[in-house]
Subunit: 331 residues, 2 copies
């Protein structure tokens, strides 16, 4: 049977049936197509860069990038200002915001509405306002390195990129921008302080025995270790709402048998406390803050049955930056 | 037989024989004692501090002290000025002076006449005036660490004590005060230089890939390693009377797979060239000096079949010295 183009059937009757049939088929096909299209994810123009960026982010080796953990309380304006800055730091993988504003909604909606963002930001809502909330072993953590920042501290991208490269060379240390020390006294009671305190007396110059974690890189493994400390450590931190950073330095020093920290001298570090509209000015303004920290040092020595902190006088700066001749000396 | 006190013998005859015998015995004993005393080393008053110091020096662990190796040519006045300074550096074990003034007497006599000295100084008389004479594996070396200094360079004791402590934390590196770098060019030909050369282009700021051994600490084991390099390396150094330090950096970089050097920023380093009466002003004033060094870099890449030097931008300073607040930053 010779047939072309749906077989020309004799007569008008056959023709109209075919026509109806074909129309129905076409309509059904269109409906199916429409349904399928509706089920596909919406590809908006502005999402395209995001998915490209997300693919890039995931491919960053866990060793070549870091996670920013920033705890925040009562300074959301500063938090958002800082997030705009930190979200674009080179080698940043993800941001974890530890939300200590109990009962208050996170700015997640606003954050998303102002997307796209260079990296994912997760808001971890807390149930109790605790200083040590930031030292949980967050499942969101995918990188070996953590950058921990206080929610009122701005460190330049240059400083952070350099300090990250230093951390990669000293991964078992807390590599950061704020050095502190303890000193012994003849009574055996320790005191905590900074450079205004007497030098520990090991040769020339000063020494530091701690690097504060409010502006520092450290290995994410230490967050896991922190979950296995004596109960008394948690009790101390909760009692003082302070000293989590001193405890971390004790932990790291015990673990390595070396000075816990490596101090990187920052070129540009700023405290934005004064810029907040909240009126809240941070724990370190409390009258008892420093006394508490000395108290903590001595308590931790009891808990750990010894003083594990060790002194260092190594100060690291970036060669040829910002001044290309910053190494020059009298010759 | 009852006998007391050499047995009293009856009669005068026995008594005088005994007396003579006893006298002879006493005289012989005195002579022997006298002879022994004469054989003992002369204990002079001024040697006492020395022997106490020497005992102390020998008890210094090989890890806690270093040997200064200083090669000298035609600048004995500077040498002696520098020796007065360096002989008193903390943790110094011994000084080895590599005497490149062929045929000329060393100042050893004068040195000894001006004793006592804090540490032993040995003058190694050379037979040929070679730049690489200082890189021999001297049997006089007892310490793990070597401090190598040019005979026209004065580095403060503070800087040296600090740099030694840094070396102890980085014993496989050349820890010193003079950073240099190589750069690649599109043609594949390398060039040698300092900060005035373009940055190698790895992020912000500059990088260094060598630390010169004319003012640096390094492990004495590298002197042993240096004896087992390809002949072409020695030929190159002899041909140029230059580049022994570049060769050492290649050696160390190959050995560690890391940047060969760690740069410690000196507080007080001085070149005393102008102070010499000899009129001799050092190899680096030769017109071809820098070109030679670029030449050496390329030759060494050929000899070692690759470029082993790696970049670093770590600059180390001493925390809290000389300014106790030298770590302070804008906060």
């Amino acid at each position: 049977m010779r047939c072309f183009h749906f077989c020309k059937l004799p007569g008008r009757v056959m023709g109209s049936r075919l026509l109806r049939f074909t129309s129905v088929v076409i309509i059904v096909l269109l409906l199916v197509a429409g349904a399928l299209t509706a089920l596909l994810p919406t590809i908006k123009d502005d999402k395209l860069p995001n998915s490209r960026r997300e693919a890039k982010t995931q491919s960053q080796s866990a060793l070549d990038s870091f996670t920013l953990i920033m705890q925040t309380y009562n300074r959301t304006d500063l938090l958002l200002k800082l997030l705009n800055h930190y979200q674009a730091i080179p080698h940043l993988h993800k941001v974890i915001v530890v939300w200590n504003n109990i009962g208050e909604k996170t700015p997640e909606e606003m954050w998303n509405s102002l997307g796209p963002h260079p990296v994912p930001v997760v808001f971890k809502v807390q149930t109790v306002n605790r200083m040590r909330n930031r030292l949980q072993n967050f499942p969101d953590l995918e990188t070996k390195a953590v950058l921990m920042m206080d929610d009122d501290t701005l460190v330049s991208a240059h400083d952070l990129a350099f300090a990250f490269s230093v951390w990669q060379q000293f991964p078992e240390h807390i590599v950061g921008f704020v050095p502190r020390k303890h000193i012994s006294t003849p009574s055996g009671v320790y005191s905590y302080g900074s450079f205004e305190l007497q030098n520990p007396g090991f040769g020339n110059g000063d020494q530091y025995s701690m690097v504060l974690i409010g502006a520092a890189f450290f290995h994410s493994g230490y967050l896991e270790d922190f979950q296995h400390q004596p109960e008394a450590v948690y009790a101390l931190i909760d009692e003082t709402q302070n000293c989590d950073d001193i405890a971390m330095n004790f932990l790291v020093a015990k673990h390595t048998g070396k000075p816990s920290g490596v101090f990187v001298k920052p070129v540009d570090i700023r405290n934005l406390e004064k810029d907040t509209n909240s009126g809240y000015s941070g724990m370190w303004h409390r009258a008892e803050h420093l006394l508490q920290r000395s108290y903590c040092v001595n308590k931790l020595v009891n808990i750990y049955d010894g003083m594990p902190l060790k002194y260092s006088n190594i100060m690291i700066s970036q060669f040829g930056f910002p001044n290309y001749a910053n190494h020059k000396n009298k010759m």
